[in-house]
């Protein structure tokens, strides 16, 4: 679409009918402040913004009203003549004014008319609103008209840039399919679930999992909302900080103070991290609680030692007494001349009994009457033999004094603990050292805090030298430090929320996996294959869309930098980067940043650089859209380069001229006031390449205090 002509009739300072015949490429409208540039812009805005129907009477040219006689009526209108697909379309927004008397007038409601003219000259009346939307779609209009430098920053909101990219990148073509496939996949999942519920033996497990999945999904989406909210709040705060910094005169000093504060905060945090005041934990983990344990250990050790000694003594006495009995027996059994006795059981039991019975020792063939020594000897031998036949164990049991041996492990424990005595003794000094260490870190921390406070004070002073009004400035200063703290806190919360979100996602995935596993064992295999196929297709669509989006973003970045280099020729440049942000909740956002050659962002780029960046991005989008052979749309700027200076504006205009898209620029540059107070166009403007140029200026003489004397004249240069 090309705007061929704008006709303004009795609208604000435009008295009578004023026409601007535009061409493709660069159209420049020059004008001093207050002479009609912005009113031209307002006229077009009024035509396009049909929803604004209030207060038409405020739009009437006061000169037209004052010059009309009572009972006379006239028209107020703005007409757009544009070329659209080989047809000419006329869109007019107009209303009539009837002057009743000097003080009173009536206006009709504004209406929008449309006429379509074919190449052959046939004219049709069409619906003005409908055709306005056809020739200049509302979603494009938002990004076509820019009033002042600040409005160029349409990229400030993530959504704006995202909308533009979506509008022009191939990724858009996938949208219509994506939602259909998502719907089909969800349906296929439902079918599998239904089928599983009917067929599975694990019905209750399956249903339980489905309930858990619903809950997990709910939790995940709640976390998503929290994350989005947090991100929005953080972005708003970051914007507020940036906005506040713009008003600061000495931006470099502010930047270096902020850097110093960052370093100090970092040092303080690292120092704070070293302070370990978990004394209660150390009581147990480091055994500090044993600080008075030495005497108790000694008590334990003595007790165990004493018991052990006592036990040994008792055992010894017992052994001795046991040994005496044994010794006596041995003594009794001794033979003459200490010769060794016969083995026990020789002669055998029967022989011994026979010899005792006969009272004769048949070994030495002598009499051995009852009561004699020889008889007793034989009797003892028999007894010994009979004892020897009894089990050995019984003999031992009778002789054991200590049934238990608990003492051995107690002695071991006491011995082991002996080695800990040094440890017990060192605890007090360890605690002392810890306190001293923490005290010294505390002092360091306080020193860092003082330094940070001083830097903040310095920063407040710099903020105080700003160009901002006093009242607003106090507000900014008051909030600036709080905003910085808010950002740090928000980033901390984000780490926690990101972690929770990751956990929730993993838990959800694992539950879906478990449910699907049951489904795969139970549901109809055709349904499962169908679902899986749709899942795959959905994945392919998403990935392709993402890739197309990334490709477009890369092109946009390259193109923007190309344009930025041309605008800022021979000047400090920087590089525009597009950062695709994907929040944990999977919402995509785009950040556009201007970075220095080493990749670090400008904390506070000057207005001219910032404007260059915005224009570069806008033109890059416009260029890429044109390159895709999409319909072209005009870009209309009111004073977009007020921070540029004349020489840079010339370079900028020459650059615009190289681009064939239609642009209408309203500028206050190149106008000079002569000695006799007359305005004229500077010679330098001759060297500015353009397709068309106009000069709007007030008809002289006029009375500053009377609007009825105001009339803007339009002349083509």
């Amino acid at each position: 679409m090309i705007i061929k002509k704008v006709t303004i009739e009795n609208f604000l300072c435009y008295y009578g009918i004023k026409e601007f015949q535009f061409s493709k490429g660069l159209n420049i409208i020059l004008g001093e402040n207050g002479e009609g540039k912005t009113k031209f812009f307002d006229a077009i805005e009024w035509l396009l913004n049909t929803s604004n129907t209030s207060n038409e009477s405020a739009l009437i040219s006061q000169k037209a009203l004052s010059e009309a006689s009572a009972g006379e009526s006239f028209q107020v209108s703005v007409k757009l003549t544009c070329e659209h697909e080989d047809e000419t379309v006329y869109i007019t927004r107009q209303f009539r004014v009837s002057k009743l008397n000097v003080e009173k007038s009536e206006t009709t409601k504004a209406i929008l008319d449309g006429i379509k003219e074919s190449r052959t000259g046939e004219r049709d009346i069409v619906d003005g609103k409908q055709w306005l939307d056809i020739v200049f779609p509302p979603e494009i209009r938002r990004y076509s008209m820019f009033k002042g430098e600040s409005s160029l920053n349409i990229l400030k909101q993530d959504a704006s840039l995202l909308n533009l990219i979506n509008l022009f990148s191939d990724a858009r073509s996938y949208d219509k399919y994506a939602s259909k496939i998502e719907f089909l996949r969800e349906e296929a999942e439902k079918e599998v679930s239904e089928n599983t519920r009917i067929n599975t033996k694990k019905k209750s497990e399956f249903e339980n999992l489905e309930k858990q999945i619903t809950l997990a999904q709910l939790k995940k989406s709640q976390l998503e909302e929290q994350l989005d909210r947090l991100e929005q709040n953080t972005n708003t705060t970051i914007d507020l900080v940036k906005e506040a910094e713009k008003f600061v005169v000495n931006a470099n000093a502010l930047e270096s103070i902020n850097k110093r504060i960052d370093i100090l905060v970092d040092r303080k945090q690292k120092n704070d991290a070293k302070i370990d005041e978990n004394y209660t934990t150390s009581l147990l983990d480091d055994f500090w609680i044993l600080m008075h344990f030495e005497s108790i250990h000694n008590e334990f050790s003595k007790k165990i030692q004493a018991a052990e000694i006592a036990k040994r003594q008792i055992q010894q006495e017992f052994d001795i007494s046991k040994g005496e009995t044994k010794g006596r027996r041995i003594l009794q059994a001794k033979l003459i001349n200490n010769s060794s006795p016969l083995p026990i059981g020789v002669p055998n039991k029967a022989t011994m009994e026979e010899m005792l019975n006969d009272e004769i020792c048949k070994v030495c063939n002598r009499e051995a009457k009852v009561g004699t020594e020889a008889y007793q000897y034989m009797e003892n031998n028999l007894k010994q033999f009979l004892i020897s036949l009894e089990p050995e164990k019984n003999v031992e049991e009778d002789e054991v004094l200590f049934k238990n041996n608990y003492l051995r492990s107690l002695v071991n424990m006491s011995t082991n603990h002996d080695t800990s005595i040094l440890r017990f003794r060192s605890i007090i000094s360890e605690i002392k050292e810890k306190f001293e260490f923490n005290k010294s870190r505390d002092e360091d921390s306080n020193r860092f805090k003082d330094q940070i406070d001083n830097e903040k004070l310095e920063r407040t002073k710099i903020l105080g030298n700003s160009s901002l009004g006093e009242e607003r400035l106090l507000d900014v200063i008051k909030n600036y430090n709080q905003w910085q703290t808010d950002i740090i806190n928000a980033n901390r919360s984000k780490v926690t929320l990101d972690y929770q979100y990751k956990e929730a996602s993993e838990s959800l995935e694992s539950k879906i996996e478990q449910r699907d596993k049951i489904g795969e064992q139970s549901a109809n295999s055709y349904l499962i294959k169908k679902r899986d196929l749709l899942k795959d297709i959905e994945k392919i669509f998403k990935e392709t869309k993402e890739r197309k989006f990334d490709e477009f973003l890369k092109k946009l970045e390259d193109k923007s930098n190309e344009i930025l280099a041309k605008i800022n020729v021979d000047a400090f440049l920087g590089k525009i980067i597009f950062i695709k942000k994907r929040s944990a909740s999977n919402h995509t956002g785009i950040n556009v940043e201007l970075v220095q050659s080493d990749g670090t962002p400008f904390i506070s780029p000057n207005q001219s650089l910032e404007t260059s960046m915005h224009i570069a991005v806008l033109f890059a989008i416009s260029d890429l859209a044109a390159g895709k052979k999409l319909e072209e749309y005009p870009l209309i700027f009111d004073a977009p380069t007020s921070s540029f200076g004349e020489s840079k504006t010339s370079t900028f205009l020459n650059l615009l001229h190289n681009n064939t898209n239609q642009k209408i620029l309203l500028l206050k540059d190149f106008i000079i006031k002569n000695d006799d107070n007359k305005l004229s166009i500077k010679k330098e403007f001759d060297s500015v390449k353009r397709n068309k140029a106009f000069w709007v200026r007030l008809e002289r003489p006029f009375d500053n205090g009377k609007l009825s004397t105001i009339n803007t004249l339009v002349s083509e240069i």
């Binding site: 004394y279 209660t280 165990i304 041996n405």
Partner: protein, 175 residues
């Protein structure tokens, strides 16, 4: 090898149920801690038995031996001594399970036990263990009473990071 310590470790000592609210829930995360309490890790104990150990040593060092009243309602943590201080997945904490041995040796030192009779088999192991646990519960009870009184006097003192450490430091009444 016969080992009194091994038997002792299998036991779960009791405490006077009155102190569940008065002491345990105030100074430890036992009974479900609020987030606020969790944040002040280091000032408070993470588990009930950690506070139990603390109270025992406090009672021991201060020589505060108070048997549990016979009619008192008793409560425990359902965690046997052998599991006390095991690291078992706790980040930021160390294993201090060896504390079990020191508790046991302290109880052995402070309890009247005829070790010779035990060795001879004249008294049962179970009787000795019962005595040890009674001793354990009594010193802990003494410590808990002391803590409760301190808390009632000056609850704000407990907000100080080093307060519980200070109490132990100044409690050497053994000599």
């Amino acid at each position: 090898m016969q080992n009194l310590f091994e038997t002792f470790r299998t036991k779960i000592p009791n405490f006077n149920a009155d102190y569940k609210v008065d002491v345990f829930e105030k100074l430890s995360l036992y009974g479900g801690g609020s987030d606020e309490k969790r944040d002040s890790r280091g000032k408070y104990f993470e588990t009930g038995y950690e506070l139990y150990i603390y109270a025992f040593f406090l009672g021991l060092y201060r020589n505060e031996f108070v048997s549990l009243p016979e009619k008192a309602k008793k409560e425990n943590f359902r965690v046997p001594i052998k599991d006390w201080g095991n690291k078992s997945g706790k980040l930021l904490r160390k294993d201090f399970s060896q504390i079990q041995e020191y508790i046991f040796s302290a109880l052995m030192a402070k309890t009247e036990i005829d070790l010779i009779a035990l060795e001879k088999g004249e008294i049962e192991e179970e009787i000795v263990i019962k005595n040890l646990i009674h001793q354990f519960e009594s010193f802990t009870n003494g410590g808990l009473i002391f803590l409760k009184n301190k808390y009632e006097e000056h609850p704000a003192y407990f907000m100080r990071a080093a307060y519980l450490l200070d109490l132990i430091q100044e409690s050497n009444k053994l000599d």
